[in-house]
């Protein structure tokens, strides 16, 4: 089944979390994922993405700064 292999797009962690953690049959094992656990994972994803964004912004700012310093010099 070639269709199965041909993914439309690289699956993001967010898509995976949406399904693998948030959906699927829930059984009462001795270890299970709680709703609070899942919320925490979304929060973690959010914090991670925000910090990546912030880091990129800071890097860009830094580059711009370096750029203008260069021009000034």
């Amino acid at each position: 089944m070639s269709d199965r292999v041909a993914r439309e797009k690289e699956v993001t962690l967010l898509d995976l979390v949406d399904r693998v953690l948030n959906k699927g049959v829930f059984l009462w094992g001795e270890v299970t994922l709680s709703v609070a656990d899942v919320d925490l994972v979304y929060l973690g994803l959010k914090v991670m993405l925000t910090s990546v964004e912030t880091a990129e912004q800071m890097r860009d700012k830094h580059l711009l700064q370096a750029d203008s310093d260069e021009k000034a010099a």
């Binding site: 699927g24 049959v25 829930f26 925490l40």
Partner: protein
């Protein structure tokens, strides 16, 4: 919204959870200390017991040998008298040690404010302390990925030799016509308490979630599969078996329903700017307002402009909803079942466009071509307005099996 905004209730909850998590570690450390103390006390008791038992054994042997003698020989009496205090002193010593354990337990639990009656009972039953072998066995669990039908062959290329705990291979555990897809896991990594810590580790999470998905995908290549939620772990194989027995009908019915179908995800994004331009171009209300505005003095025009911006925002929302709904309806037409997931915010998707639809569709293999064609049409038709359609899949049917709180069975 930034992560350091203290007003964000999610951040508040994170802080709360972090505190709780570190509390958990404190509990863990105390538990460890208690275990170590118990082990030490146990070894002391053992040291005392060994000579006492040896003595007892020797005495019994000696008594057996000398049995014919006591009847007519006096020394038996003093011997008996001599052993009696000995035994008593050993017993006394053991009692003293037991008291010490109890005292230690009490002090420990008092200082930390916990300690259940079960734990208090431990010192009275030193034999109940786990042997190293029991300990080893209890440190493993059985991770269940999914349930599949028995009729398929082994998957092409076989079952993964490395499960979610790479130390153990994936295998099937069968009951009647269904089988669980299982692998052994270390509870050092997948125990309930440590799990909460691991979930905060995004690198760990990503690896494990991808493995869970890869296993489900490998196994489902040529058969129906009911995916289980991430981190469903049983302590013994017989508990897995029990779950299969208990839910046999549910699993068998779900497998029959899902046979030959796959889940596809469609997300629709809306570029607000190009939609706004289109709204300005096509909306009669906006045109009316613009015409009216042109005839008013500047002060009034300012307020009218504000009013118009509001109207445009409303229109954008209305049009987004309308198109998202129509897209969902048209895709659902080619699906056996459909489900709408919560929209992912921009802070999660890391995109400039807003998500307006996050749909899941259970599509029969025979309908897949039509489904894809409809998706292409939608992309073209709605593309001008700034809508982008994005397809993911095929997925195991995560979205088409029951959720917690829902009655999956006649329970």
């Amino acid at each position: 919204m930034t992560a350091n905004e203290k007003t964000d209730p999610l951040v508040d909850r994170l802080i709360h959870r972090l505190i709780t998590a570190s509390d958990g570690r404190v509990t863990g450390i105390i538990q460890e200390a208690r275990d170590e103390a118990l082990a030490e006390v146990k070894s002391i008791i053992k040291e005392v017991l060994i000579p006492a038992m040896l003595e007892q054994a020797l005495r019994e042997l000696g008594e057996t040998e000398s049995e014919p003698m006591p009847e007519d020989e006096a020394p038996a009496q003093p011997q008996e008298a001599a052993t009696q205090p000995d035994e008593a002193s050993v017993e006394k010593e053991i009692e003293a040690i037991k008291r010490k354990i109890a005292e230690n337990e009490r002090v420990l639990s008092q200082s930390q404010g916990f300690g259940s009656s079960e734990e208090d009972a431990v010192p009275n039953h030193p034999a109940a302390v786990e042997t190293p072998n029991q300990r080893m066995e209890e440190d493993y669990g059985y991770y269940v990925y999914a349930v599949v039908a028995c009729d398929g062959d082994q998957p092409l290329g076989g079952l993964p030799t490395e499960g979610i705990d790479p130390a153990f291979p994936v295998y099937f555990m069968a009951y009647r016509s269904i089988q669980a897809v299982v692998s052994k896991v270390s509870l050092q990594e997948f125990g309930q308490e440590v799990l909460e810590t691991n979930l905060n580790d995004m690198a760990w999470l990503e690896t494990k979630v991808r493995t869970h998905q890869d296993v489900a995908e490998t196994v489902s290549a040529d058969r129906a599969l009911v995916p289980l939620r991430f981190c469903t772990v049983y302590l013994t194989e017989s508990r897995v078996q029990e779950a299969l027995v208990e839910r046999y009908d549910d699993f068998a019915n779900a497998l029959a329903r899902l046979k030959g179908k796959q889940e596809w995800g469609v997300k629709v994004y809306c570029d607000g700017n190009s939609l706004m331009q289109r709204v300005r171009d096509v909306s009669d209300r906006v045109k009316e307002l613009e015409a009216e505005m042109a005839q008013k003095p500047s002060g009034v025009a300012y307020f009218m402009k504000r009013k118009m911006e509001e109207v445009i925002a409303e229109e954008i929302e209305r049009i987004s909803d309308e198109y998202a709904q129509s897209g969902h309806d048209r895709l659902s037409h080619h699906a056996q079942e459909s489900d709408i997931h919560p929209l992912q915010g921009k802070e999660l998707t890391d995109r400039k466009e807003a998500m307006v639809l996050n749909g899941a569709y259970l599509v029969d293999e025979d309908d897949l071509a039509a489904f894809r064609a409809e998706l292409r049409n939608l992309g073209v038709e709605h593309g001008d307005l700034g809508f982008t359609y994005e397809l993911t899949g095929p997925w195991p049917p995560y979205s088409f099996v029951a959720q917690p709180g829902e009655t999956w069975a006649d329970e």
